[in-house]
Each structure stands twice: as structure tokens, then as C-alpha cells.
């Protein structure tokens, strides 16, 4: 047994006691035990995670961090390791501490041997002061909850400063297609692995309205894109200073998008004789998540076939394309929190060729973004002509209904309903049996809808997995 400071042991015990008390109350205990432990021993994360023999992987970025971290957690498990993972999506440092507590003994001994931590992008600088990861994955940086994070340039700068403080034993895994993320590699003195989508058939040539980074992250001159995949993500180059999309270590040579799965043909240095990778989730962004997880697995020296096997069996996380059956209707749950995430989700939805029936729920609590203006940056205009019917609810449902009106959805296709259960009722009634209902909601709205669905007997609580 590794010696533990009394302080850490006391903090662990207090945190674990909190966890048990919360669970007796039927609560998820995804953060509060961590707050308790961190208050008693601020170095609890470093102390608890230092013993992990395979080290720690931190996954951050605006979109895809939950799915990428879950994929990676499944991959390390397939490799026979025991991950400690903040699976419930509580991704501030308190959530990481809570995950460590859940997987440690009362004496502060960890049961796992590899950490897989999803980290809120604004918390990266703080978390990196608490632990030194073996791998740091950054998926992308988009305009997100700006009232909390303010501006993307400032955030990228803070993350770059934190990265500059990392030792060269840490490997960065970065999205080559996102100029802001790729440029973070320049701040690191250790190794950097890049992933990206090389398939020339993916993406258009025009930057989208929500682009945050049409300017070079180094010299601020306009970037030139030969391919735009999503917002500022694509095949980019600065003609002024010569900064360009770096060579990819893990890349998709071809991506085939289906209604329920995405197939990826790998290119570049990692390819051996291997079948196409199958990810049982629709949407190009899930191809990116899989590439990020694969690249991290490569740093951990896990075989590609092990990783591919884990990915093929992957099940999505809370509100990320979960399927729930209710009264003969198929509910597809989509968590959205920013324009880029919305556009990616909508892109995946429209690829199915259906005329979607929607239950849309907009909240404005802290975890959703108190500023709901992001809905005006999201491309509802692409969705509007295809909507069969939309039921709208949430603390700011009226803003969402207004957004649909200005996107051109005929008023008689929209119903605004107050209350979670009544909204679910109305949306199910507006969906014929055998058809699909797409539930699009922000974080706390999704929690409330899930809760209401559970009370109707349609779904389990999300922290059970």
C-alpha cells in the first residue's frame, strides 16, 4: 500500500460518505462528493491519480469530449485495463475528484489503473495544475457558452499557457483540422499527434456563418480553406505566415455516413491490414470522436484491432443519440449546447432524408448557457423546410419557437407546451406509432425531460451506467 497523507485519507472518507448519503437519497452523486474532498484536500486529485500505472488521459474541447472519453474508456477496458472515468459528464475538477472517490477504497487506494477524464475546456488550466496527464486530447474549440467562457481566442490562449507548463512526458492529441486546436501544439515541448479527416468528399468550400477562426491563430491574416467541414474546421492554410493544417498521424481517408452508423477507412501511418472502422453512431462528428480516441489509444500503445473492437460495440452517452422507446415511438435524444454542436446534430439528422418530428427544449440555467442567443447562430434555416412538426418547451421555449418562426417554419407546425411531462405527451401524440421523434434539448432541459420520461417508465436514470 502506497502511503497516503492523513489529509487525503480524511478527504476521501468524507467524500465517500457524501457519496453514499446522496445515493441513499436517490441522487447521482456526480459532483458534490468531489467538492467535499477537494475542500478538505486540494491535492486529492494529484494524490489519488499518481498511482495509476497506465497514467491519465484528459479529454477536452467544446464538442465531442464526452463521447471521445467514453470511447477511450471502452477501449482501455477492452485492452484489459481498469479505467477510472468521470462517466456521468460531470467534467469540472470536482467531477474528476468524485470519479476518483467512487473508484477508491476508504483508505484512498485506487481500484483502477488508468484515468480517463473528460474536462470542461474552461477548467483545463486548473485541472492541469492538479495533475500531469500522460495524454491530453483536444477535440475542437467552437463558440460555446460564451457568457461563461467569453471568447474563444482568450480561452485558447489560457489553454496554451497551461500546455506550456506540461512536461515533455505528456503527449498531446490534437485535431489537425481545427486551426485553433492545431496551433496549441506549438506551445508544447513534448510529442504531438494529430488526427483529421482527409476524405476529399467531406466538406464544402464556403466558411459557415458560425466560424470563429477564419483568421490565422498565429498572424491573424485570413485563412484560406480548400475544404470547410464544420464552422472553422477543415483543410486550412495561412498564405501570409505559412501556418497550415499539420500532417495527420491518424486520419480518415474515407468516411461513409449512415443513418445509424459511420464507417471510417483509416489512412496514414496507423493503417495496417484492417477492415473499415465501424462506429455505431451517425454523424461526421462521431468519426472525429473515434479518430481522437484512436489516436489516444495509440499513444497508450493499445493495438488498433482492440480499439476497433471496442468502438464497434460502443453505446452513446446521456443525450448523445440515445434511443428510447415510448408507446411504439422511437425517441432519439440529442443534447445540444452550442451552434456547432447543433449544426453537426442537424447535419446527421438531415442525412437520413426524413422529415423530422421534433421535441425541442431550451433552458437557460448555468449549465445550458444563460445567454440563449446562440440559437440565432445555429443553422435552423437548414432544418426549417424539412420539419414535419415541432413541440417546443423549456424555460426559454418561447425564444426557440421564435427562432423557428424566423427560420421560416410555418406556425401551424409548431406547438409550444409548458411543463416537461405535458410536452412529452404532446410530442408523442404528434408522432404516429412506428415513427421517430427527435428530442433536441440543452443540458438541464435534457435532464428534466429524462426525469419526466423515467417517471413515465420509459428510461433509466442516466448515472446508472
Amino acid at each position: 500500500m502506497t502511503p497516503r497523507s492523513l489529509r487525503t485519507i480524511a478527504a476521501v472518507a468524507a467524500g465517500k460518505a457524501t457519496r453514499i448519503a446522496l445515493q441513499r437519497l436517490g441522487r447521482g452523486a456526480t459532483a458534490l462528493p468531489g467538492i467535499v474532498a477537494l475542500n478538505l484536500a486540494p491535492n486529492a486529485i494529484a494524490s489519488l491519480s499518481a498511482t495509476m500505472t497506465h497514467g491519465t488521459v484528459c479529454v477536452s474541447g467544446t464538442n465531442g469530449k464526452t463521447t471521445t472519453a467514453r470511447m477511450l474508456s471502452d477501449i482501455v477496458r477492452a485492452a484489459g485495463w481498469a479505467p477510472v472515468h468521470n462517466r456521468s459528464g460531470s467534467n469540472l475538477d470536482r467531477g474528476i475528484a468524485a470519479a476518483l472517490l467512487a473508484d477508491s477504497t476508504w483508505g484512498g487506494e485506487l481500484r483502477g489503473n488508468v484515468g480517463v477524464f473528460e474536462i470542461d475546456e474552461a477548467s483545463v488550466p486548473r485541472v492541469l495544475t492538479r495533475l500531469v496527464p500522460r495524454v491530453l486530447v483536444v477535440t475542437n474549440l467552437f463558440r460555446d457558452q460564451l457568457d461563461r467562457y467569453f471568447e474563444i481566442d482568450a480561452l485558447a490562449k489560457r489553454i496554451a499557457q497551461a500546455i506550456a507548463g506540461l512536461p515533455d512526458s505528456t503527449t498531446l492529441v490534437l485535431n489537425a483540422d481545427d486551426p485553433i486546436v492545431a496551433y496549441l501544439g506549438q506551445s508544447h515541448r513534448g510529442p504531438v499527434l494529430f488526427f483529421g479527416v482527409d476524405d476529399p468528399a467531406v466538406g464544402g468550400t464556403v466558411a459557415q456563418a458560425i466560424s470563429d477562426a477564419t483568421r490565422c491563430p498565429r498572424c491573424k491574416a485570413p485563412l484560406r480553406y480548400t475544404r470547410v467541414i464544420l464552422a472553422h474546421v477543415g483543410d486550412w492554410r495561412c498564405d501570409h505566415c505559412g501556418l497550415e493544417r499539420p500532417p495527420r498521424d491518424v486520419a480518415a481517408a474515407a468516411v461513409r455516413l449512415g443513418a445509424n452508423a459511420t464507417e471510417v477507412r483509416l489512412a496514414g501511418a496507423v493503417t495496417g491490414a484492417i477492415d473499415d472502422l465501424v462506429v455505431p453512431l451517425p454523424g461526421l462528428y462521431n468519426a472525429y470522436n473515434a479518430l481522437a480516441a484512436l489516436a489516444a489509444a495509440r499513444v497508450l500503445d493499445i493495438s488498433l484491432s482492440t480499439a476497433a473492437r471496442a468502438l464497434k460495440a460502443f453505446k452513446p452517452a446521456f443525450g448523445r443519440l440515445e434511443i428510447v422507446e415510448a408507446e411504439g415511438r422511437r425517441l432519439r435524444l440529442l443534447l445540444v449546447k452550442n451552434p456547432a454542436g447543433f449544426n453537426a446534430a442537424i447535419g446527421a439528422l438531415l442525412e437520413t432524408g426524413r422529415r423530422p418530428r421534433i421535441l425541442g427544449a431550451l433552458n437557460d440555467r448555468d449549465a445550458d448557457s444563460r445567454d440563449v442567443s446562440w440559437i440565432w447562430d445555429a443553422d435552423f434555416e437548414a432544418l426549417a423546410p424539412r420539419i414535419e412538426h415541432a413541440t417546443i418547451t423549456g424555460l426559454r421555449g418561447r425564444d426557440l419557437a421564435l427562432r423557428l418562426k424566423y427560420a421560416g417554419v410555418p406556425r401551424d407546425r409548431v406547438t409550444v407546451v409548458d411543463g416537461w411531462a405535458p410536452a412529452i405527451r404532446a410530442a408523442i401524440d404528434a408522432t404516429p406509432p412506428g415513427e421517430e421523434l427527435v428530442v433536441i434539448a440543452t443540458y438541464t432541459a435534457m435532464l428534466s425531460l429524462r426525469d419526466a420520461l423515467a417517471r413515465l417508465g420509459y428510461v433509466g436514470q442516466f448515472w446508472e451506467d
Partner: protein
């Protein structure tokens, strides 16, 4: 009848859903049978055509974007925009755009940065960033709702009139209870949200001003604003109870 909308620097100055203002202007004109054309104007382009647009939208940006736009407005594009405004074009500006139309921005350290100088306002870097719902009321009792997110504090000179009086939130500078500025057909404010969809009377005011430039005074047909009013009421309730 047609309305020409100029979107100023959309690649550099469009943040927090500012695009919704252009959508609101163009939809509310289109719903009345007015033909709408929108053009974008951006930095480093050939000189703006000062005779084209009837109404401009100028949004907020990140610091980087604001610097580039400030530099561009110091050149021929700034002269063109000034001429356009002198020729009767209306402007709706938010946050960074509002600050850049003013006389100057005084940073924490260093020299004041001159603005376009068409609005009689001055902005100073503040210590505390104002983030939250912002509810205000105009002199004639109209409500305005939005979401503010700024660390520049703006002070009005004698030529500019406040757009409204703050009921909840901080507004121009957090002390004098004013929000925004009106001067001729120019409006500046700190209302993101987007502002115009939830404040349709303001959108219609701007459309009227824009049409007046080439078509004279036009009576706008009324629209059914039930959804707009409901969204404003819901947001106002949040501003009063949770901010």
C-alpha cells in the same frame, strides 16, 4: 419597394447571435412584401459603396476582430461609412460595433483608440465584466430585453440620447442606469439576445428609417407579434427574477 441591408464585418464582428438581427430585419421586411437584399462589408475590401445600403447592422466581436475592424475603419472604409450615414442610412449596432461608432475607446493602459465618431459616446475599459439579462424601458414605455456581456463602460455625450432606462442588469456603464444610445438614425446598445427578434418594435423602427432613405415615409403594415411578445415576456421574467 425594396430594402437594402448592409451587414458590417460579419466575419469579424458577429458574436452571441448577432446574426439574428439581420434575420429579423430581413424577415420582417419580407413578411410585408418588401424585397430585401443583404450585402456584407468586410475589412480590407475595396472601398465600401457608401450609396448602397439603407440600414446597416454592426455587431460585437472578439478583441482580435475589434482591433482589425478599428484599423479598417480608420481608412477609406471609415470615410465611406461616415458618408453613408450622412446620406441618411440607419445603423443598428451592438456591443463592439456600438463602441466603434463612438468617439473613442479608452483602454486600461495606453493611448485612447479613436472610433468612427458618429455617435457621441465614449467607452472606457471597466474592471468588472457585465454579464447577464438586461431589461430596460424607453421614455415612451416600450420594453427592451437582451443579454449583455461587456467590460467596456460607455458614457453618453450631449448629442446622444439613451435608448432606454435600465430596469434589470447594468446597461451602458452600470452606474447611470442608461442603456444604449440614439442619435439621428443611429442606434447603439449592449443588447445581444438577439435583440431585434424579441424587440420587434425596434426592428420596425430601423426598417422604417431604412426605407425612408430612398422611398420616403412608409407606413409599415402591422404584423402578428404574439410569439415575439411571448418570448420577450418570458425573458423579461427571467431578467427580473434570476439575474
Amino acid at each position: 419597394m425594396d430594402l437594402r441591408i448592409g451587414h458590417l464585418y460579419p466575419d469579424l464582428m458577429s458574436i452571441y447571435g448577432d446574426r439574428g438581427n439581420v434575420i429579423a430585419l430581413s424577415q420582417r421586411a419580407a413578411w410585408r412584401g418588401i424585397d430585401v437584399e443583404t450585402r456584407t462589408f468586410t475589412a480590407g475590401e475595396a472601398r465600401f459603396d457608401p450609396d448602397w445600403a439603407d440600414v446597416y447592422f454592426f455587431g460585437g466581436g472578439q478583441d482580435q476582430g475589434q482591433d482589425l475592424v478599428g484599423a479598417d475603419l480608420a481608412g477609406p472604409n471609415g470615410d465611406a461609412l461616415r458618408r453613408s450615414i450622412a446620406g441618411g442610412a440607419a445603423v443598428f449596432s451592438v456591443c463592439g460595433g456600438y463602441q466603434l461608432l463612438g468617439k473613442e475607446y479608452v483602454p486600461d493602459t495606453g493611448e485612447p483608440i479613436p472610433g468612427l465618431g458618429v455617435l457621441d459616446v465614449t467607452t472606457r475599459a471597466g474592471k468588472v465584466r457585465f454579464v447577464g439579462n438586461l431589461l430596460c424601458e424607453t421614455d415612451d414605455g416600450k420594453m427592451l430585453i437582451g443579454f449583455e456581456n461587456h467590460s467596456g463602460y460607455t458614457y453618453l455625450g450631449p448629442l446622444a440620447k439613451p435608448l432606454g432606462r435600465v430596469i434589470a442588469g447594468h446597461g451602458n456603464n452600470g452606474t447611470d442606469k442608461t442603456e444604449g444610445a440614439v442619435q439621428g438614425r443611429l442606434i447603439g446598445c449592449y443588447l445581444h439576445g438577439s435583440a431585434l427578434p424579441k424587440n420587434p418594435w425596434l426592428a420596425d423602427q430601423l426598417i422604417s428609417w431604412g426605407l425612408a432613405r430612398r422611398h420616403g415615409a412608409v407606413d409599415l403594415a402591422p404584423l402578428d407579434d404574439t410569439d415575439e411578445d411571448a418570448a420577450r415576456a418570458q425573458a423579461a421574467e427571467v431578467a427580473k427574477t434570476r439575474t
